[in-house]
Symmetry: C2
Subunit: 547 residues, 2 copies
């Protein structure tokens, strides 16, 4: 059993042995005072304490699968199955920590070739077995829950061994990568050829290329490199009705862009086995820098000016007052109080943090791009904090999940959710979601901390990413968050998208038709029926079961 599986079991992100970003005494004091936190230790749980149901995989099916992909690639022991029981949402982690009975797949399949995936689906159709495609297991929306959907059994189809760089065409700047390759591994293989994908979501350390495609991921540098769907030049899927390959040209008018059906298909319309990716030359230079603006609206104006002036830095990230505050208080790196005094002296009452990061081929290009960004900001009052703060953000860019582990250990309810809408509606949406979260996360009269940032900006609008820190309701920790999430989702419906980059999974499904209409829901169901007539693929995610 590898390290990944072991620590997943424990209900935390942090690999065993690694530091879970422990909280400083100052940070803890501050959290207690702000949220009414009564530290209740809820450490991750050892494997042996988690209950696992017997595997229901019929022996005939097991034997056929083993004959096709190899005995070693069909795993039924509890530890392996537990390792693919759900993703990384607060609810997932708390369930594991609570030792409650988890929905665990009946087997883990590890095919080593795309053609074998096609064969696996055939066998699973014949034996009426649900198939949950599994990549990095980082879903925070119930996207990899081992739901059976009325089938006789459910298997996790782990793509970890589809991890090859199939081809690289430097002239066309296209890399074909198998779906199970981890993002970090892809970056390192591409770097050897002088290229980068430029996709850096917070799940970067674990997530896979196939997972990015299946969930329409967006990385922290989306302003410069685009969303993941912008990088997908082509895609190869295994489906119960046969293999599906798409993408013979950069763009086309040959009817609807079916690649955009495959991207975001969440394992419910096929198993993505290969992705042809647009790559870029690895930057020779980069620079990260932080600024402070006074108040949220001023920050929004700044980001909008950059997006509409097409002068966005590759990373463009605005944190609201609460997020900036928490970042200062929780990090030992900066003296929160003296910084605030300094900013007040500069007339900044409501410090919001703007992190900008540029990648470039040369020092000259970097200088030019930075100048263009700063030019577009001329109308907005900013105070420059400089490179150390920017670089500090950069070096901690993937540490959020580890920091969450430390907070979970101490009894904090910590979770995120996100949306996006048009500029004109952005502040109203932010207020509505904040209100819903604050109301529903109060414990003993103490309000939670609700932080918000913009990390993805477009000419017509932007994303909003919320992080909450609340004292955990000891009696009903899961209900506490679920009520808040439901209220926030209701606030989003009709005002913005139910998810900007986390996908639908099981958790957002009740709100999907408010966004795509009942016609949209019927269309997805029809596509599902066409490619997966018996409904074995990832049941209960993305597509509402036929009524």
């Amino acid at each position: 059993m590898n390290g990944l599986i072991e620590h997943t079991l424990r209900g935390s992100w942090t690999p065993s042995g690694a530091s879970a970003a422990p909280l400083s005494p100052h940070a803890l004091r501050w959290l207690r005072q702000r949220t009414g936190l009564a530290e209740t230790a809820t450490p991750a749980v050892p494997v042996s304490l988690l209950e696992v149901a017997e595997s229901d995989l019929p022996e005939a099916a097991r034997a056929e699968l083993a004959a096709l992909i190899g005995e070693q690639q069909v795993l039924t022991d509890p530890a392996e199955r537990l390792g693919r029981a759900g993703g990384m949402s607060y609810t997932d982690l708390m369930r594991r920590r609570g030792g409650s009975r988890l929905a665990v797949p009946d087997a883990v399949l590890l095919p080593t070739d795309p053609d074998l995936v096609q064969g696996v689906l055939k066998i699973c159709v014949r034996h009426d077995i649900a198939v949950v495609p599994f990549g990095g297991g980082t879903s925070v929306v119930g996207g990899v829950d081992a739901l059976r959907g009325g089938k006789t059994a459910v298997v996790a189809l782990d793509l970890a061994r589809l991890d090859r760089l199939v081809s690289l065409d430097p002239g066309s700047r296209i890399a074909v990568v198998q779906a199970g390759m981890r993002a970090a591994e892809a970056e390192s293989l591409l770097a050897a050829h002088g290229f980068t994908l430029g996709h850096f979501p917070q799940s970067y350390e674990r997530a896979t290329i196939g997972g990015f495609a299946a969930t329409r991921s967006a990385g922290q540098a989306s302003a410069g490199y685009g969303r993941f769907e912008d990088m997908v030049e082509g895609v190869r899927l295994a489906t119960p009705v046969g293999e599906w390959r798409l993408g013979v040209s950069p763009a086309s008018a040959a009817g609807p862009d079916l690649r955009q059906l495959a991207v975001g298909s969440e394992g419910a319309l096929g198993v993505i086995t290969e992705v042809a990716l647009r790559v870029r030359p690895a930057p020779a230079r980069s620079r990260y820098e932080a600024f402070v603006v006074d108040g949220w609206q001023s920050g929004v104006d700044a980001v909008r000016a950059l997006a509409q002036g097409r002068a966005l830095a590759d990373v463009t990230r605005l944190s609201d007052v609460d997020e900036a505050d928490v970042q200062l208080e929780l990090s030992g790196a900066l003296k929160a109080r003296s910084l605030k005094t300094y900013l007040r002296g500069r007339g900044i009452r409501q410090p919001c943090l703007l992190v900008l990061g540029w990648d470039a081929a040369s020092h000259g290009e970097l200088k030019q791009r930075r100048a263009a960004t700063l030019r577009a900001l001329r109308g907005i009052r900013t105070v420059r904090l400089g490179r150390p703060v920017g670089e500090a953000w950069r070096s901690h860019r993937f540490s959020g999940p580890r920091q969450r582990d430390a907070l979970l250990d101490r009894g904090v309810c910590v979770e995120t959710l996100e949306t996006a809408t048009h500029w004109t509606d952005l502040s109203e949406l932010r207020s509505a979601v904040r209100t819903a979260l604050v109301r529903n996360l109060q414990v003993n009269g103490k309000s939670p901390i609700v932080m918000c940032h913009i990390s993805h900006a477009y000419e017509t609008g932007a994303s909003l990413y919320f992080t909450v820190l609340a004292a955990r309701d000891a009696d009903d920790p899961l209900g506490q968050w679920q009520r808040a999430k439901m209220a926030a989702s209701d606030a989003i419906a009709g005002r913005g998208t139910i998810t900007h980059h986390h996908a639908v999974g099981a958790d957002h499904l009740p709100w999907l038709e408010a966004e795509i209409g009942d016609v949209g829901g019927a269309v997805l169901a029809a596509v599902k029926k066409a490619v997966d007539p018996t409904g074995i693929l990832n049941p209960g995610k993305l597509i509402r079961p036929a009524r």
Copy 2:
């Protein structure tokens, strides 16, 4: 009857009374010598000579439609019906000129409101009447042919009276426009508010916003403003199963991007009634300039360097030797011979024309962007022709269809087709298509002129746009082109997309599944069945009839 309908009837693009860009004696001599053209006059045909079948629209249906949308909005007289009988392909125009019996709709409907479109579809479902959505009528792929598809009658649903600017949100830079608005009208309305859409395909003078969306159009400035699908923020469709609205945010991870199913749906999956468009500030400055590079490959290298260096001019257009030659010979503006001599003196043996055009908010920005483009071209030998040639291209950018009229009048077989592929495969694809066209368009041992240009470039590849000029085969003019088109399409299949911006229509349908797979074909058929269960919408286009 308005002017549009009258000249459409005549089998030409040029409005009656306007000049059809007559050919100079020099141009004619040159064409005769190059193509073996034996001038056979085939002028456009007066309405009275075209046969029109009686309308098969059942009286009960007519009465219901008239009760819903008004008597004046249900037209059955032959001239109106003829005006919506097909598009603007060579085949369409030749059929009209030949006076052969055309597939003519049984009625023309002109609803004045999106809600009425929804009602029209209900009535047509009840009476089993096929509906062909009709915008500018500029399809060159049989996209608006009045095919009945086994129904009792077929109506053209002309969206001309859905021509309102519904709303404009300057802060989010989104304009909601009704589908029947002409591109030129949209630009002029937007200009009044300081905005532009920036979508300028050759069909600009006639085409509609809804048509652009339905066909995944790409304009001449796609390098700067994006393809039409990049401009579609949201869309509203009428379908037989109810209204469908999409697009609540700039980007989303709420499953597949269904907007990309609506865009390119070609009237077969719904009638687009409104489009929410991303708009940009109208440029204060622009500059068009021409350069010459030596040989096709050198030109490809130049365009690729610009695309991959993200330094494309807003208009970036490379013409091969043949196209550059024809442009010189057919235009009176330039002295072809002296220019060639000058270029030979500069070491250019195979002059290919590179037209670059920049839009900008200010002189400074223009200067900067132009400098970035020229910097990215440093590795390529170019000879600057200057602004007059660039501006000449610009001022004639929409004149192609009128020039075609003059050629048609003189007996030339003139038509275009297009594709796109990755950079690495581009030159092989160009050769394969050229060979197919040359072989199949020969007349009396004389080869046609086959020209090619790149007008849309991406980081991973580019489009190829072919124009042919051949002596018309007097005995079988339609067969001559159809054989060539078939051979070219066969050459494209597997190497590139069957269409980069002309859409599928009826003409490309036989090659669609080579591109999207039989799974893709099944998916489109399933979506069709979900939104249009009885198959009334634009039968015979985009989606193969159920087998």
